[in-house]
Assembly symmetry: C2
Homo-oligomer: 411 residues x 2
Amino acid sequence: MLQSGLFSKISKEFPKDEESLNSRLLIRAGFVKKLSAGVYSFLPLGLRVLHKIVDVVKEEMNELGAEEMLMPSLVPKAAWERSNRWNVDVAYKLNSQFGGEFGLGWTHEEVVSDIAKNFIFSYQDLPKAVYQIQTKFRDEKRPKSGLLRGREFLMKDLYSFHADEADLNRYYNLVIGAYKKIFKRLNLEARVTEALGGAFTKEYTHEFQILSGAGEDTIIYCAKCDFSQNSEVVKARAGEKCPDCGNALKKSRAIEAANVFKLGTKYSDAFDLKFKDKSGNSKPVVMGSYGIGPSRIMGALVEIYHDESGIIWPEAVAPFQAHLINLSQKSKVKSQKLYQKLQKQNVEILYDDRDISPGQKFAESDLIGVPLRLVISEKTAGKVEVKQRNSDKIKLVTEKEVIKILSSGKG
Amino acid sequence: MLQSGLFSKISKEFPKDEESLNSRLLIRAGFVKKLSAGVYSFLPLGLRVLHKIVDVVKEEMNELGAEEMLMPSLVPKAAWERSNRWNVDVAYKLNSQFGGEFGLGWTHEEVVSDIAKNFIFSYQDLPKAVYQIQTKFRDEKRPKSGLLRGREFLMKDLYSFHADEADLNRYYNLVIGAYKKIFKRLNLEARVTEALGGAFTKEYTHEFQILSGAGEDTIIYCAKCDFSQNSEVVKARAGEKCPDCGNALKKSRAIEAANVFKLGTKYSDAFDLKFKDKSGNSKPVVMGSYGIGPSRIMGALVEIYHDESGIIWPEAVAPFQAHLINLSQKSKVKSQKLYQKLQKQNVEILYDDRDISPGQKFAESDLIGVPLRLVISEKTAGKVEVKQRNSDKIKLVTEKEVIKILSSGKG
């Protein structure tokens, strides 16, 4: 991609109406644009990152054997009333001129249970799991954490259907395993944390919490073992001994990036979702639901991976693999040729072909945060100056080596 | 994919609350599920088709050099008021408990113009084009055409920005060319048809109309040349001589699958989107907008490609390339092996591994409409019975040939 052709541009200043670090950086660097509080457009640069996060999530969901589907946002009032969730605070409600009242989907247990009724009849139809990558709407009181809490945001929600609690428990642990893989692939350390179920369930649930001062949650955790509780659970306290290993517990702000819920039969009861077991007895289907927020994860990545000059994207989600910068008129042909060669190798490359000062190019490159910077100028004498965004070391290498480094990073 | 594991199942009967052929077939065969009038869930089978249509559309948009982005659905009242479109019939409106009034995005000229203001300053920043694949909401009075007219539906909307009318005209024709390619790849014959601009513009615009009795539009067209007008234009009449070639004009119902609009400066004026020309004069940006409906196209494909037994998907959009059907217990191992071999070759294959009658398997296979049917039984004696969905000819071929046919169809 030619930088001169990019739809977005770097802003000279940080936005004045944003408090959170992630949205301040993402807006200034041209990844997102705010439409209203908690509502953002994803500009081409930002959508590239979001798609990469979504791709990782989808791969792991498919690996689990879950099937992708897509449910609507216009969910009729009657569906919410069956589960007693019409009067939930976060619901946006609207009246159709012609067709009754709707609540915009902020989660989809109701819709998916109603659909599953058409396809689940017998124990032989179980277990089943479906997921979607879909936009959710939640009327949050005062969203001020950028992509960490949106009124409109992208969600991956997975729903599973089982014959009994034991099978739900088995699958619940599989999903926790899949989520761990996702966070590992995204270079994020997420702690599996005990929490309350909110509007979903009265049992404890598990959240994936990323330690960060920007988080809106507080967790009590052990740095030596896996113990971690959301402070809302109020069992453990910082300073106390870890109930698992005896080490002193710590307290930290954290970003809830995913959660898993055992729903039991709450929604299958409400929607009369039953199956016949081996003995021919009719039983309610046992359900689980599992959420992960790709747009929130994008915000979390910025909170974790940045420095005073800008964003530092991990390779797995970077909008481009490399940022090629040409510094002088005389080296323009050479840069152009390398750009074309890398494109031919399917390397995702952003090429700064503009006639602006080297200082501005470097500053903008640091803001955007592509992992590898390639500089060509008169001074590089036929070679390419290579620098990683998260390091100060500069190496002078041949074109051939650059192509080798970048092509080997693929697939 | 094992058919026994598929989330959806074929229904024994057509849905009772649907009038349109496309939704009746798609619901019965397990591609979509109705949530309320004009609002459908895409089940795993249906989402596979929808994704393939979207992929074709995206490839041609990227080929045009347009950049993909993603805008929100929660569009503030103030944005609609600037363009005088707050009180448009199709708008769903809602009140946030905390943050004012919103109209759900039924189109995005307002949002994209407001964003473009941050990035377009000079003639050197033009032309630019961005598109999105995004869910649109329209409060339609009485949606009864299935996927052909939804209250919630998927849309590809492209917006272009130009220095003058001449450049807009140049790009407008490029987009018409890209749309022609898209319809050709999707096996759809769409006539470029002169029409009124509706809420968008008072100039004539162009629609891509697919001849079909299920369509909600009426067009007057010439079967010998390219002349085509929406009957709302009311210039030409059926039976009259074609103004271009003199042949007698025909009349037909048609499905509007895409449209292209020259917006001029309507939205750039409303949003104060200006640029400095070469002489330093400030001028309003000239805009175009171009829509294509992937979910509507899915409905149109079913209207065009079906017979009394079910859907007949064109290869480019079929949920699977082939449907492998095992007919007897004794041939199960052979079928299983072929299934695995085809999967290894990345052939998208649906394998009916269930223990139900051959008659039911064939009937369901015809309903689902995968282009190629492969049958293995005791009778096929080590070979595979191959039949295309749109033909009655049955061929007996070796496994090797099957693998060759299906692998060569790829990439």
